[in-house]
């Protein structure tokens, strides 16, 4: 008898501790999940930036044209003004200081018996 009373009392205590969730919580959670958008990827951001509008196309085209122009100016050597006469292709020879070449040489005994 005593044991049954104790169990009843414990049940009653548990019931008194339980607080039912508000009705709106479930709806709030559903609303939050619906509103949460996936994180945009880098590529999406880039695509969005590139397709920003007409002004972006213009700026991009101008930048590309400038880059190509700089590349061509650097890559193609300057041409000499044409004299109307066929001439040899221009060749540019860099001079080397003889002092730099002197480092190639070392003292020698002058013999010719050092075959390997």
């Amino acid at each position: 008898m005593k044991e049954e009373d104790e169990a009843r009392l414990a049940k009653a205590a548990m019931k008194s501790l339980f607080v039912p969730a508000p009705e709106s919580l479930k709806a709030d959670l559903k609303r939050m999940a619906r509103n949460r958008k996936p994180t945009p990827s880098i590529w999406d951001g880039l695509r969005e930036a590139l397709s920003g509008g007409a002004w972006a196309y213009g700026a991009g085209a101008a930048f590309a044209a400038a880059a190509i122009g700089v590349f061509i100016l650097r890559a193609v050597p300057e041409r000499e003004p044409s004299s109307g006469v066929a001439s040899k292709p221009a060749t540019r020879v860099e001079a080397v200081a003889p002092e730099a070449l002197a480092g190639l040489w070392s003292d020698d005994d002058g013999e010719d018996n050092d075959e390997i």
């Binding site: 020879v93 001079a95 002197a102 480092g103 002058g110 010719d112």
Partner: protein, 240 residues
């Protein structure tokens, strides 16, 4: 004459009969043509270049050579590790043109040349019309490779020696490493580079020796440390 003396006399007389007949000397022009054309196979070699200047210590440098028929790659190895090697790749001149040039200024003679880098050679002497010995070339009897070359001054003293000290022939050589340098101005002897231009003269140097190309009226002349055949080749290539 005792029997013993007779036997000794017969034995001594038999020695020359047992000797091998000498290889006949090749024709000078044919040998020069072979030397200028180079071996018919690829080869790898180490060459030592020595320069002798009056009153000064001899100087030397080492060159690694790789070659295929008609094309030679030379890599001058610096004595200091910090320096980069000096690399040049050249196509050989037509042998007939080279022989014609040598013939215009030298008397050419051939003799036996001894052994260079363990190979039997023929020796070619190039003498000016005055009889002065200007160059001596040692050519491999088998392959025709120029094994050694000495250049002499007007007083007969040795000015320069180029000699192969190690040779692998035939050797596998990658043709990719033998892409010739673009042609830049007149021909230069091996080891020389353009060192600058001043007062209308173009100077070329190998670090020890030098020469210059100078306009004299309507002509161009070569002044400096070059043998006659090299100077003629420089002038010929500059006129083209």
């Amino acid at each position: 004459m005792t029997r013993f003396k007779l036997a000794v006399a017969l034995a001594l007389a038999a020695v020359p009969l047992q000797a091998k007949p000498r290889t006949p000397l090749p024709d000078a022009d044919a040998l020069v043509l072979r030397a200028l054309a180079g071996p018919a196979t690829g080869y790898a070699a180490v060459e030592r270049v020595q320069v002798f200047r009056p009153g000064q210590k001899p100087k030397a440098l080492k060159v690694n050579i790789m070659a295929l028929p008609g094309r030679v790659r030379r890599e001058v190895l610096p004595s200091k590790k910090k320096m980069a090697p000096l690399v040049s790749v050249r196509e050989l001149e037509k042998a007939e043109a080279g022989l014609a040039r040598l013939r215009t200024m030298y008397e050419i003679s051939v003799s036996t040349g001894g052994v260079v880098a363990k190979r039997k050679t023929w020796k070619i002497e190039l003498r000016l019309r005055s009889g002065l010995l200007r160059r001596a070339l040692w050519v491999d009897r088998d392959s025709g490779l120029l094994m050694k070359r000495e250049t002499y001054r007007d007083d007969g003293s040795l000015a320069r020696r180029e000699r192969i000290v190690k040779l692998t022939l035939p050797a596998p050589v990658d043709p990719v490493t033998l892409k010739p340098d673009p042609s830049t101005g007149p021909w230069m002897p091996d080891g020389y580079v353009f060192a600058g231009e001043s007062d209308g003269a173009r100077r070329y140097s190998n670090g020890l020796e030098s020469y210059e190309l100078r306009r004299a009226g309507s002509k161009t002349v070569v002044l400096g440390d070059l043998a006659e055949d090299d100077a003629a080749r420089v002038l010929g290539s500059d006129a083209k």
